[in-house]
């Protein structure tokens, strides 16, 4: 669980770009990829929902539970100190991975959803008043819509939504026009989970800052697939989920600028988040512990740290470049299928393809692909307003990770031909 040094990432990244990307080698690290589904090799293309876990992460969890399990920040015994060190090291690993200035800016939460709710309730609820505005985009996942609707109900603030263009990009003109001195918070997806659009986050953050509005960037779909540099982006909050980046479920990260976090009241009360408690008065612990009430998901944190070490060894820029190649290959292959239409054709896209096929419902596509061992998502992708925008009840979505291959995309295409065979 040694703290990761940034220089290592740069080195491995250079190595990664020199040689061609060896997905077959990385696949060997993921035991689940050997599974057979109905007797057919698993083709796992549902990475935007959750990613698979590599051996180093599985082993880190196993090692923690078999040789290192103890509670943190309280024991004076050996194992407790060891667990605390591992927990703290993971925080530093994440800080460096995101290029945050200070490890105290990294708060462990259950996932991106909890991070957004924490900001809504701890930051928003105390500051927003009737007439204030929160700006989101039409691309958002429900988890970046509902917490703000709840906050609006609590405070009398108003939710404003920047519209999405036909190609799946946010209209920047409309977004900029929505921003004004009543805008008290902006919350936007870095990458759309449903369409794959990569938002021009830095520009959108600058625009919001011009009217003095802090920005939460939802990194659930970006952190696992592209380099995130928080110093450069200058967003005020950033969230992501561990399970979408090769780590366990139930662990995620909220980044917040230190001055903002320090000014925010705790989200939940309990152990670990206090420095002194009497029945008359409680003094809260410092950031980030103030936001980490109760015994945290220690194994999850260690697993997440290990997952990021693993990603760093491969190099996030190499991953991005390889996935871009997969995206181009898949896009071209899918568009050759008669009646197939891709929803979301933004210029900048992550490795996510949402599509519809003639008048075959995505749910039927999903069932038939599943029979061929191909796992995709069919549905509204927790983005019902976006589906409404494109006048489709649902889409089929294939989403790639660095362990996917072009031959798996060929399997996907073949399986879609089975759909046409059934519905032809």
């Amino acid at each position: 669980m040694a703290g990761f040094k940034r220089s290592t990432a740069v080195d491995s990244h250079r190595n990664g770009t020199r040689a061609s990307f060896d997905a077959e080698r990385h696949r060997k690290d993921f035991p689940i990829l050997n599974e057979k589904i109905y007797g057919k090799p698993l083709v796992y293309l549902d990475n935007a929902a959750t990613t698979q876990k590599p051996k180093p992460v599985i082993e880190a969890l196993s090692r923690y539970y078999s040789a290192g399990n103890a509670n943190i920040h309280r024991g004076i015994h050996y194992l407790s100190q060891k667990a605390t060190d591992a927990y703290d090291d993971a925080r530093t690993t994440i800080q460096q991975f995101l290029h945050a200035r200070d490890s105290r800016e990294i708060v462990f939460v259950r996932g991106a959803t909890e991070g957004i709710n924490l900001v809504a309730q701890s930051y928003g609820r105390n500051r927003l008043t009737p007439g204030d505005e929160i700006v989101i985009t039409g691309l958002e996942h429900h988890s970046n819509i509902v917490p703000w609707q709840m906050l609006c109900q609590q405070t009398g603030a108003r939710l404003r939504v920047a519209p999405v263009l036909d190609n799946g990009e946010v209209s920047l003109d409309a977004y900029e026009k929505l921003l004004n001195d009543r805008t008290k918070l902006v919350s936007i997806a870095h990458v759309s989970n449903a369409l794959g659009t990569i938002n021009p986050a830095k520009r959108m953050i600058q625009m919001a800052h011009r009217v003095g509005a802090p920005v939460l960037l939802d990194g659930a779909q970006s952190a696992p697939h592209l380099a995130v540099d928080l110093e450069d982006l200058d967003c005020d909050f950033f969230v992501f989920s561990g399970h979408k980046m090769f780590a366990p479920t139930g662990i995620g990260v909220l980044y917040g600028k230190l001055d903002l976090l320090e000014a925010m009241p705790p989200y939940q009360g309990g152990g670990d988040m206090i420095s002194a408690v009497s029945f008359e008065k409680t003094t809260y612990n410092k950031v980030p512990f103030k936001f980490e009430a109760g015994t945290p998901h220690i194994a999850g944190v260690i697993g997440l740290g290990r997952a990021i070490d693993y990603v760093n060894q491969i190099g996030i820029d190499s991953i991005f470049a390889y996935e871009k190649e997969l995206l181009a290959y898949a896009t071209e292959a899918l568009l050759k299928i008669p009646g197939l239409r891709i929803i979301g054709t933004a210029k900048e896209k992550a490795s996510i393809i949402s599509f519809v096929l003639a008048d075959v419902h995505p749910h039927d596509i999903g069932t038939i692909l599943d029979q061929e061992g191909v796992a995709i998502r069919a549905g509204h992708h927790c983005a019902m307003p976006l589906m409404e925008r494109f006048k489709v009840p649902a889409t089929a979505r294939a989403s790639f990770a660095f362990y996917n291959t072009k031959s798996e995309i060929d399997q996907l295409v073949k399986a879609i031909h089975s759909v046409l065979e059934v519905f032809g």
Partner: protein, 153 residues
Amino acid sequence: MVSSELRELYQELILDHSKKPRNFRALADANHTAEGFNPLCGDKLKLYLKVEGDVIQDIGFEGSGCAISKASTSMMTASVKGKSVSEAERLFHEFHHMLSGNDAAKMDLSKLGKLTVFAGVSEFPVRVKCATLAWHTLKAGLESDGKVVSTEE
């Protein structure tokens, strides 16, 4: 090559009803309506019933959904039209039983007639709700008026 399970699921009759749904229209003189919704996949339907005395005189539906849900709705409307409310309720129970009962093999499915084409859906647990949505919506329509039925409640 399409597997035999898939051929069993997507039988000709099901594909036919999903492509050319019967009774696919709003009823201007409906006296009961109900909406059905499956938030997991976005299946949506609105059911119109004209019930006179104890008889379902006319029935129609509108909406969008997967092949299974559309075919099931279409065949449900065809099978309850002209039947008494209690007969329709009996069919509801038998259909439901066929798809969710563990003792389906022992069941007498003869009353279900053509509806037995949906028996194969029980092999696809995530699709059972697609097939039963129409029937739950029918039940809601007969019992109360204008209620939205969700598969997730």
